[in-house]
Symmetry: C2
Subunit: 401 residues, 2 copies
């Protein structure tokens, strides 16, 4: 068994320890006896532990003194011992069970020395897939201090390791997109093109990442590229849904891709056109490319998120394009494929080095179509690094009819 | 555009209206001026409206007098007008925006006549993908009465239309599983087999459902069948994760499938063996099949959920199998792929006609492997109907080595 795979973390163990150290430092400063995490992605962020999140709670806790424990359903115990570095693994038989998992958690936490004041990412286990249960404060009798804002403030600035994983994700998004573009032809449906692209890209990605890659959950997880119904005039609906539409000459298309690497996401999207673009398509397409450049130029440490969206809005206004505006410039991205802050007129968060954003201003016209390129960028000390590398010009993105 | 697809609901409009009528009746009885829904699947349940759920709130509300409104981000307005029957569509420019969407919602609700006491499925929009915002009570100044328990009590008993969609889902799960079984051979990886099965099954399913099917969201959505790492001795880990493992003779496998039809899910899983089963594999396999039959026989209106799990536990105890026990007998299923109630010793919910459950007792041994068949059943007036049709015997589920 051990020879078949050698699970390794994508983020170095020392970095995970340093993240936990920062959270512990905060907890101690607040006079807390330790902290408890219920959220799957927070647990992944602090421990790299990957699991299927269901109505059965998985809980990670650390005492102010540094001792760690993970609480899982009984059937996870053997896997956790084999695939993770957790020294202390506690379990409950089942959910809901004769004794509720939160009651068992209370005993585990008491034994770990968590009492009086405990930090937690939320009041209790979230109501996933039919879960119901008492709050942490109720089962422990302790005061529960919220930690989500502190955790989010850590996650928003990505480390070099995190940016490296997002960069790798961007490479596979681009690979999947090249295949999608190749398979997108008149007479083919959006479903056929995207299934084929995802199939081939995932095999290529897993082969390239090798045996030590452990970022899958389902066996079909990997790289994908496709559409979500933004085909023809439906391309003007920024969040359309798919209808297995057959491509035809004259269609404007907007794509989407995904390739989480150890959970970390880049985003790459392109507007494409099947057959010769009309003048009006070309006009909106070229303005979309230009608006993206405006955002690239505006994004740097020290400005506010709203400033970047404001620069794009000024470009639209100066070019009489406000009529075609439908969505803000972008959002942060990382372990979640959308995160705060947002490149939006209403978000005054200061931009800092290490933040990673999508840059995706779009123009939408109900008769011509919708145009949106999305790229992922990391904020550096004095500007940005673009993490997704794919052509943006109309010639490269015109598909033969 | 209109000729390419004719979006239709999977649940008849009259049934959706009747669902809303029941919720309104409850609201009026409680003296509420109307109700508000934030949860994506609750909105789907009461309106069949399908959309991509993100940090941008989508909210449905109905006044005690029956007037409906949907609040969406600006870029959804044209699609909602084209693809849904909503007469009143309100919008906000963006999230977070200069004016928070919840403030705009408050104005919309006031105009609809919702005041003083309002029912809602939750306190506000949930914290999806970086969303933050004020609670409904805060922005409206009204008392907010929780409705989730009432809604769940409606959703737990499925109608004939719902059972029909779950039955159709079961057909496509079985089709995908036949392909998965065909593609699972020594030397092939779990990823290759599942991608190929999902690819072919999705194309077949969409072709069969025809142009009026509108249950996709992404273009690659359809039917899938695969593994989640339960291969070889890892099959004894009930919730393993995939590692692109290559199949080899002697492997015990546990599969999973998915094929939501207009959002409704069946679940079909099988234990399989590559090459001639050992005696010990055969023993655990056959007991798994027998335990499933015990549950089929025990499930009927009038018993409690715990009774069904109890019957399986007694079978395990009588046959000295408790050592191999890791999980309860099953869970309800519908618009969510796990729902309450649970066929679990700790769940005393009475079984009623119209409830739909997975039946999936399993046996797990760290050296032999894990064995679990999951089938989906609807509770009828006097027993059950099995909605998934796939062989369960060891001969049918042995793969040539």
């Amino acid at each position: 068994l051990e020879q078949r795979t050698q699970p390794r973390t994508g983020i170095p163990a020392a970095e995970l320890e340093s993240r936990r150290g920062r959270l512990l430092e905060h907890a101690r400063r607040e006079g807390l006896s330790g902290y408890v995490l219920f959220d799957q992605q927070y647990i992944q962020y602090f421990t790299s532990f990957g699991f299927l999140s269901t109505e059965r709670p998985v809980v990670f806790a650390q005492s102010a003194g540094g001792e760690m424990v993970v609480l899982v359903p009984e059937f996870e115990v053997e896997r956790v011992r084999a695939e993770t570095a957790f020294e202390r693994v506690e379990s409950y038989p089942e959910y809901p069970g004769i004794e509720h998992p939160m009651r068992i958690l209370a005993t585990v936490l008491a034994d770990l020395g968590l009492r009086d004041a405990i930090g937690a990412d939320q009041a209790g286990y979230p109501g996933i897939l039919g879960y119901q249960g008492p709050a942490l404060g109720e089962v422990t009798g302790s005061t529960v201090a919220p930690l989500a804002a502190t955790i989010e403030s850590m996650m928003v600035r990505k480390s070099e390791s995190e940016v490296a994983l997002i960069r790798e994700s961007g490479r596979w998004c681009a690979h999947a997109h090249r295949l999608l573009q190749k398979f997108t032809r008149p007479g083919v449906t959006e479903t056929e093109a995207s299934l084929r692209a995802g199939h081939e890209a995932t095999i290529a990605m897993l082969n390239a990442l090798g045996d030590t890659y452990g970022g899958q959950q389902a066996s079909s997880d990997g790289a994908s590229a496709g559409y979500r119904g933004q085909i023809g005039r439906r391309s003007s609906w920024a969040h359309a849904i798919a209808h297995n539409i057959e491509f035809q000459a004259g269609d404007v298309l907007v794509t989407e891709t995904s390739a989480p690497i150890w959970g970390y996401n880049a985003e790459l999207e392109r507007a494409m056109i099947i057959g010769a673009p009309t003048d009006e398509m070309r006009r909106l397409f070229d303005h979309t490319v230009a608006a993206q450049q405006v955002a690239f130029d505006a994004l740097r440490p020290g400005v506010k998120c709203a400033d970047v969206d404001g620069a794009v809005m000024r470009y639209f206004e100066d070019n009489n394009l406000l009529l075609y505006w439908r969505q803000h410039t972008g959002h942060a991205i990382g372990l979640r494929n959308h995160e705060a802050p947002f490149l939006d007129l209403g978000d005054d968060t200061p931009v800092e080095p290490g933040m990673v954003f999508t840059i995706e201003p779009g123009l939408y016209d109900a008769t011509v179509g919708g145009f949106r390129h999305s790229d992922t960028v990391a904020v550096t000390a004095d500007g940005i690094e673009i993490l997704t590398d794919y052509p943006s010009d109309i010639e490269s993105l015109t598909i033969p009819a």
